[in-house]
C-alpha cells in the first residue's frame, strides 16, 4: 500500500504543482518557484527513501487497469534504471528550479514558465517509471508537447518560435513512429506490460517483424536524442531560456531516447542489425557533433553540439551490445548530467552578467568572475575527460570497450573514430574554458560589466560540480552500487564485476586517452587557424533545409487540396451524392437476390392514391417553379401535410402531431427568411449543368426509392421493439410506447438530441446577433419592404383572435404534455404547439409588443431544460439505478381520482423547455433583425451626436 501511494504521489506531484502554479499565475515569482522547488524536493526525497530497497534488488510496481480492452494499464514501476533517471530528473529539476528563480527577471511570465517546467518534469518522470509501454508513449508525447512550450517560452522571439516548432516537428514526428514500433513490439510480445516485454527478448528477436520494430523504435529514440541526421533541432532549441536548456539537454528530454534504448536493451540488442545501426549512428553523431562544437561561437551553441556528441557516445556504447559497454554508458549518463547541467548554468550566468554569449567577445573572465570560472572550468575538464574527474573514468571505459568492436569487419574503425571524437571533445572543452575565462578580454564592454552572481545562481552548478568531482575521486563509494544495479537492470541479468577507479594501469585505453588530451591541447593552440579554414568551407544549413522541406510539403499539400477540394458547395455536394449513390449500387449488387421481396403488400385505397398523386405533383411544382419562391413554400407545405397524413394512416399519431407542428414552424421560418432574401432571382445554372444534375437526381431517386421498395417488401429482421412493447407499461409506467421510448428506454439519445437542438438555437442567435452592425447592418437598413402589404400594420381581427387563442392553446399544450406518457403527445409536441401560439403573438401584435411581455429569456429556457433533463438522469444514480432510469408510482386524490407521477415527466419538462426555447430563439431573432439594425444605427448616431455636442462647448 505504501509503495503504491509513494509511486502515485511521485508521478502526480509535478502535474498537481503545475496546476497550482497555473492557477496562481498572477501571483509573484516566489510563489511559482516555491511550489516548483517544494514539489521537486518532495519528489526527490521520495526517490531517495526507496533508493535503498531498489538498489538492493527490489522492483517496486503498482498497476491499475485503465483501458483493459487495449492492454493499457496505469502501471508504475521503479527498478534501478528508473530510479537513477527519476533521481536525475528530480534532483537536477530541483537545482534548475532554484537557478531559474534567480535567472528569470521579475517581469517575466514566471507562472507560465514554472507550470510548463513542472508539466515537463511530470512527463519525463512518467516515461522513466511507466510499467506499461502504452502509458510510456502517452508520457513520451507529453514531453514533446511540454518541451514545445518551454523552448518557445519567449514567444515574442521568432527564433524561439521556430526552434520550438522544429523541436516539436522532429521529436513529435519521431514519437509517432515510435508509437508504431511500440505497438508492433507489444503485439509480438503478446502484452504491453513492460516486464513481460523485457522477458520475451528471444521471441521478439526471432520474429520476422524484428527489423521493422527495431527501425521504428530507433527512429523514435534517435529523434528524441538528437542523433544524426535528426540532430539539428537541438541547437535551435537553444533559443529557450538557459534553465530550460540546462534541464532539457543534460538530464531529461534528450536522455529520454537513451533511456528507452537502455530500457529495451535486453529485448532489442544483441543482433548484428542492432549493433551496426546503433553503433554507426552513435559514432557518426559523436564525431560530427564534436567537430561542429569546436567552431561554434555561441556558448550555448558549443554546449548544444557537445551534447549531440556526448549523446552519440552514449548511443554508440549501447549499440556495442557488450555488457561492459552498457555499464560505461550508465556511468557516463550520470557524469554527463552533472557536468553538462553545470556548464549550461554557467553559460547562463555569463550571459546574465555580461550580456553576451558570444565567446569571441569574452575572455579573461576568471579575474572578474572567479567563482563561476572555477565551477565552469572544472565542469569543462570533466567534459574533456581529464583526471581526476568522473568524465575521465567513463571516457576511459568507453575507449577500452571500442577495442572490442569491429564494425564492417574493420577492427580499427571504431577505436580510431572514437579517439578522434575524444580529441575533438578535449579540444572544444579546452577552448570553452580557455577562451571564456583566461587570456586577455577581447571586448571591453562585457568584461567591464561582469561580476559573479549571487549565491542563488551559482549554488546549483556548484553542487553539480562537486558531484562531478566526487564521481572521479570516489566513484565506488558514490556511484558503485547504483551503477552496478542499474547496469544489471539494463542488461537484464547480473552485471559483470565492477571496478571504477581512476587508475587501471598502463593499457591501450590510457594511451588513447593521453593522445586525446594532447591533440585537444594542440587544437586549442591552433584554433584560430583551424577556424579560418572551417569558415572558408561551405556548410549545409540544416535549418534552411528543414524550412525548405516544410515549405515544399506545404505547397504540395495545398496543390492537392486545391485540386480535390474546390471551395464550391455545388461540386462537393455533387461528389457526395454521387459517392453515396455508388455505395448503394455496390451494396445492392453485392447483396444479390431479387429486387422485390416476398412480403405481402397492403392494398392502397383511392384516397391514398390521390394523396400520393398530390405529393408527386407538389414535388414537381417545387422543381418547375423554383423562381416563384412564395409559391414554392405553399407546395412544400402541401408535401409536409401529406406526410403528416401518411403518419396518421400508418399508425403513428405522435409522428403526425410532430410533423404538422414542425411544418408550421418551418414554413414560418422560411417566410421570415424569404422576407429579406430575393424573391424571384434569375436562374444561375446553365442548361447542361441542369441536365447533369437532373440525371444524378433521377439516379439517386431510383436508388433510394428502390432500396425502400426492397426493404418494404421484406419481413423485418427480428426487431428489438418487442422488448419496448413488453416493458413499456410494466417498466416505464406508460402506455404510449413511443413516448416511453423517448423519455425512458432511449432517453440518453433524447438528451443528446435536445442538447443539439439547444446548440442550434444558440448558434442561430450567434449568427444573427452581429447582423445589426457592419456591412450586414448597412444592408439591412437599406432594405425596403418589397412585398405588397395590408394597409393595417396589425390587423385588429388577427390580433384579437391570437390573444384569445393563446390561453386556449396553452391549455391544449399542457394537456398534450401531460397525457403524453399514455396517449399521443409529450414534451416535443407540446413545446411546438405552445411555440406556435407564441409566434402568432409576434406575428399579429408585432415584436416589440410581444417581447415587452415576455418574462423568461430563451437562453435561460434552453439551459434550464438541459439541466433539468440531466438532473433527472443523475437523480436515478442516487438510488443506485443506471443513468436516466425512470421511476413512477400511482397516487390518488379526492375529486381527481387515481393518477400517475413519473420521473420521466420531469425529463419531459426538460425536453419541453429546450425545444420551446430553441424554436422561439430562432424565429424571434429572425423576425426583427431589420428593426434591430435600424435601432443599432439610430443609437450609434445618437451617441455620435452626443459626443459631437460635448466637443463643442
Amino acid at each position: 500500500m505504501a509503495v503504491s501511494m509513494a509511486l502515485h504521489i511521485l508521478v502526480l506531484l509535478p502535474f498537481v504543482s503545475a496546476l497550482l502554479i497555473a492557477a496562481g499565475a498572477t501571483r509573484g515569482r516566489g510563489f511559482h518557484s516555491g511550489i516548483a522547488i517544494a514539489a521537486s524536493a518532495i519528489g526527490f526525497a521520495l526517490v531517495l527513501s526507496v533508493a535503498g530497497r531498489v538498489v538492493g534488488g527490489e522492483v517496486l510496481a503498482v498497476s491499475t487497469p485503465w483501458v483493459p480492452a487495449i492492454g493499457l494499464d496505469f502501471s508504475l514501476m521503479i527498478d534501478p534504471l528508473g530510479l537513477m533517471f527519476a533521481g536525475l530528473i528530480l534532483g537536477i529539476g530541483l537545482l534548475v528550479a532554484i537557478y531559474a528563480h534567480f535567472y528569470l527577471a521579475k517581469g517575466e511570465a514566471t507562472g507560465r514558465f514554472f507550470a510548463s517546467l513542472m508539466l515537463f518534469q511530470g512527463a519525463m518522470l512518467g516515461i522513466v517509471i511507466s510499467g506499461n509501454v502504452l502509458l510510456l508513449l502517452i508520457f513520451w508525447e507529453l514531453t514533446s508537447l511540454s518541451s514545445f512550450l518551454l523552448i518557445g517560452f519567449w514567444r515574442h522571439s521568432a527564433e524561439a518560435r521556430q526552434g520550438a516548432r522544429m523541436a516539436l516537428a522532429i521529436t513529435g514526428g519521431g514519437g509517432l513512429v515510435l508509437i508504431a514500433g511500440m505497438l508492433l513490439l507489444g503485439i509480438v510480445a503478446g502484452s504491453f506490460d513492460l516486464m513481460t516485454i523485457l522477458q520475451s527478448g528471444d521471441v521478439i528477436r526471432s520474429s520476422p517483424l524484428y527489423p521493422v520494430i527495431l527501425v521504428l523504435i530507433l527512429i523514435g529514440c534517435f529523434t528524441k536524442s538528437a542523433q544524426f541526421p535528426f540532430h539539428f533541432w537541438l541547437p535551435h532549441a537553444m533559443a529557450a531560456p538557459t534553465p530550460v536548456s540546462a534541464y532539457l539537454h543534460s538530464a531529461t528530454m534528450v536522455k529520454a531516447g537513451v533511456f528507452l534504448l537502455a530500457r529495451l536493451w535486453p529485448v532489442l540488442a544483441g543482433t548484428d542489425l542492432y549493433t551496426v545501426i546503433v553503433t554507426s549512428v552513435g559514432l557518426v553523431t559523436m564525431v560530427f557533433g564534436a567537430w561542429v562544437a569546436l567552431f561554434r561561437h555561441d556558448l550555448k551553441g558549443i554546449l548544444a553540439y557537445s551534447t549531440i556528441s556526448q549523446l552519440g557516445l552514449l548511443v554508440m556504447l549501447l549499440g556495442f551490445s557488450i555488457e561492459m559497454a552498457a555499464v560505461a554508458a550508465v556511468l557516463h549518463i550520470l557524469n554527463h548530467a552533472a557536468f553538462k547541467a553545470a556548464l549550461f548554468m554557467s553559460a547562463g550566468i555569463v550571459d546574465h552578467e555580461t550580456g553576451t554569449r558570444d565567446i569571441r567577445r569574452l575572455g579573461g573572465l576568471a579575474k572578474v568572475m572567479p567563482i563561476t570560472a572555477v565551477i565552469a572550468t572544472i565542469a569543462a575538464a570533466a567534459m574533456a575527460g581529464l583526471p581526476p574527474l568522473g568524465g575521465f573514468i567513463s571516457k576511459e571505459m568507453m575507449l577500452y570497450e571500442t577495442l572490442e568492436v569491429g564494425l564492417f569487419g574493420l577492427p580499427w574503425l571504431v577505436p580510431v573514430l572514437a579517439t578522434i571524437a575524444a580529441m575533438l571533445s578535449a579540444g572544444y572543452s579546452f577552448r570553452l574554458a580557455a577562451h571564456l575565462f583566461f587570456g586577455a578580454p577581447r571586448d571591453a564592454g562585457p568584461h567591464a560589466r561582469a561580476h559573479d552572481p549571487g549565491l542563488g545562481m551559482w549554488a546549483s552548478p556548484a553542487v553539480l560540480v562537486v558531484i562531478a568531482v566526487l564521481l572521479g575521486l570516489a566513484p565506488m563509494v558514490i556511484a558503485g552500487p547504483l551503477v552496478a544495479s542499474v547496469a544489471s537492470a539494463v542488461i537484464g541479468s547480473a552485471a559483470p564485476p565492477l571496478d571504477l577507479s581512476l587508475w587501471h594501469g598502463v593499457n591501450a585505453a590510457l594511451m588513447m586517452s593521453i593522445a586525446a588530451v594532447l591533440v585537444g591541447a594542440l587544437l586549442l593552440w591552433r584554433h584560430a587557424g583551424l577556424l579560418r579554414r572551417y569558415e572558408a568551407l561551405r556548410h549545409l544549413d540544416a535549418k534552411e533545409l528543414f524550412q525548405r522541406g516544410m515549405a515544399g510539403a506545404d505547397a504540395r499539400l495545398r496543390k492537392l487540396m486545391v485540386a480535390t477540394h474546390r471551395p464550391s458547395l455545388q461540386r462537393m455536394l455533387f461528389a457526395t451524392f454521387a459517392v453515396v449513390l455508388l455505395l448503394i449500387i455496390e451494396g445492392a449488387s453485392a447483396g444479390g437476390g431479387s429486387f422485390t421481396g416476398p412480403r405481402e403488400g397492403l392494398p392502397a385505397s383511392p384516397i391514398a392514391i390521390i394523396a400520393w398523386l398530390l405529393l408527386i405533383a407538389a414535388t414537381g411544382a417545387v422543381l418547375m417553379e423554383e423562381r416563384q419562391r412564395f409559391r414554392v413554400l405553399i407546395y412544400i407545405s402541401v408535401i409536409g401535410l401529406i406526410i403528416a397524413l401518411a403518419f396518421v394512416h400508418f399508425s403513428a399519431p405522435d409522428l403526425a402531431l410532430t410533423q404538422i407542428s414542425v411544418e408550421v414552424v418551418t414554413i414560418l421560418l422560411l417566410l421570415l427568411a424569404l422576407n429579406l432574401l430575393p424573391k424571384s432571382p434569375p436562374i444561375l445554372s446553365s442548361n447542361p449543368r441542369r441536365l447533369r444534375d437532373a440525371a444524378l437526381a433521377v439516379a439517386g431517386g431510383l436508388g433510394v426509392g428502390g432500396a425502400a421498395w426492397a426493404m418494404l417488401t421484406r419481413e423485418t429482421n427480428d426487431p428489438i421493439s418487442a422488448y419496448h412493447l413488453a416493458n413499456s407499461y410494466s417498466g416505464g409506467g406508460g402506455t404510449n410506447v413511443v413516448n416511453v421510448t423517448l423519455v425512458d428506454f432511449r432517453a440518453f439519445d433524447t438528451l443528446g438530441e435536445i442538447i443539439v437542438l439547444g446548440i442550434a438555437g444558440l448558434a442561430i442567435f450567434a449568427l444573427l446577433e452581429p447582423t445589426a452592425r457592419g456591412v450586414a447592418g448597412a444592408r439591412l437598413r437599406k432594405w425596403q419592404e418589397d412585398m405588397p402589404h395590408s394597409p393595417e400594420r396589425h390587423p385588429l381581427m388577427f390580433v384579437m383572435a391570437t390573444r384569445i387563442l393563446l390561453p386556449l392553446v396553452l391549455a391544449a399544450g399542457i394537456y398534450i404534455f401531460l397525457r403524453g406518457h399514455n396517449q399521443p403527445g409529450g414534451g416535443f409536441i407540446a413545446a411546438l404547439v405552445v411555440a406556435i401560439a407564441f409566434l402568432l403573438q409576434y406575428l399579429a401584435s408585432g415584436f416589440d409588443w410581444t417581447d415587452a411581455r415576455r418574462r423568461i429569456g430563451e437562453h435561460f429556457l434552453i439551459a434550464f431544460g438541459v439541466l433539468v433533463a440531466m438532473a433527472t438522469g443523475l437523480g436515478s444514480l442516487l438510488f443506485g439505478a443506471n443513468f436516466l432510469t425512470s421511476a413512477f408510482d400511482y397516487f390518488s386524490l379526492p375529486l381527481i381520482g387515481e393518477f400517475e407521477l413519473a420521473t420521466a415527466l420531469l425529463f419531459d419538462v426538460g425536453v419541453f423547455a429546450v425545444v420551446f426555447g430553441a424554436v422561439m430563439l430562432a424565429l424571434a431573432q429572425l423576425s426583427h433583425i431589420s428593426q434591430r439594425a435600424a435601432r443599432a444605427h439610430a443609437a450609434q448616431l445618437k451617441a455620435e451626436k452626443l459626443t459631437h455636442e460635448e466637443g463643442e462647448p
Binding site: 425502400a708 413511443v738 457592419g774
Partner: protein, 128 residues
C-alpha cells in the same frame, strides 16, 4: 397498387427532388432541397418499421399487434432535429447574403436584384 409501392416511390421522388434542388446555385433553393431530402429520409427511417394500418403503439392489455414503436421514436426526434438543421441552414444563408450581398451558395457575386452598392466584403464596415 400497394401502399408499399406508394411509399417507396414517394421516397424516390422526394430524394430526386431534394438532390436536384440541393445542387442549385442559390442558398434558398439548397435549403428547400434539404427540406425535401429530410422528408424522404424521415419517411425511409419510418418505413424501416414496415407499414402498419390501425395499430398505433399505444399499449393495451387486449391488443397483441402494434406498429413498430422504435422507428417512430427515432423519427420523432429526427423531425425536430431536422427543424433545427433547416433553421440553422436558413440563418446561415441569410447571414451570408447580408454580409456578401449575394445569395449564391459560395458567396460569389451574382445578379440577385439587389443593387445596393455596398462593398461585397466587410472591409468597409466597422468591426463588431
Amino acid at each position: 397498387m400497394t401502399l408499399e409501392f406508394l411509399v417507396a416511390s414517394a421516397i424516390g421522388v422526394l430524394v430526386a427532388g431534394g438532390i436536384y434542388m440541393a445542387l442549385r446555385g442559390r442558398t434558398f433553393q439548397v435549403v428547400l432541397g434539404l427540406t425535401l431530402f429530410s422528408y424522404a429520409v424521415n419517411l425511409f427511417l419510418f418505413a424501416s418499421g414496415r407499414l402498419t394500418v390501425n395499430r398505433p403503439p399505444i399499449w393495451s392489455k387486449d391488443i397483441v399487434e402494434y406498429a413498430d414503436p422504435l422507428p417512430q421514436a427515432l423519427v420523432l426526434t429526427a423531425i425536430v432535429i431536422t427543424f433545427g438543421m433547416t433553421a440553422f441552414a436558413v440563418v446561415l444563408a441569410l447571414r451570408s447574403f447580408l454580409e456578401s450581398g449575394s445569395d449564391q451558395v459560395d458567396g460569389d457575386p451574382c445578379e440577385s436584384g439587389l443593387n445596393d452598392n455596398l462593398p461585397s466584403d466587410d472591409s468597409g464596415g466597422e468591426r463588431p
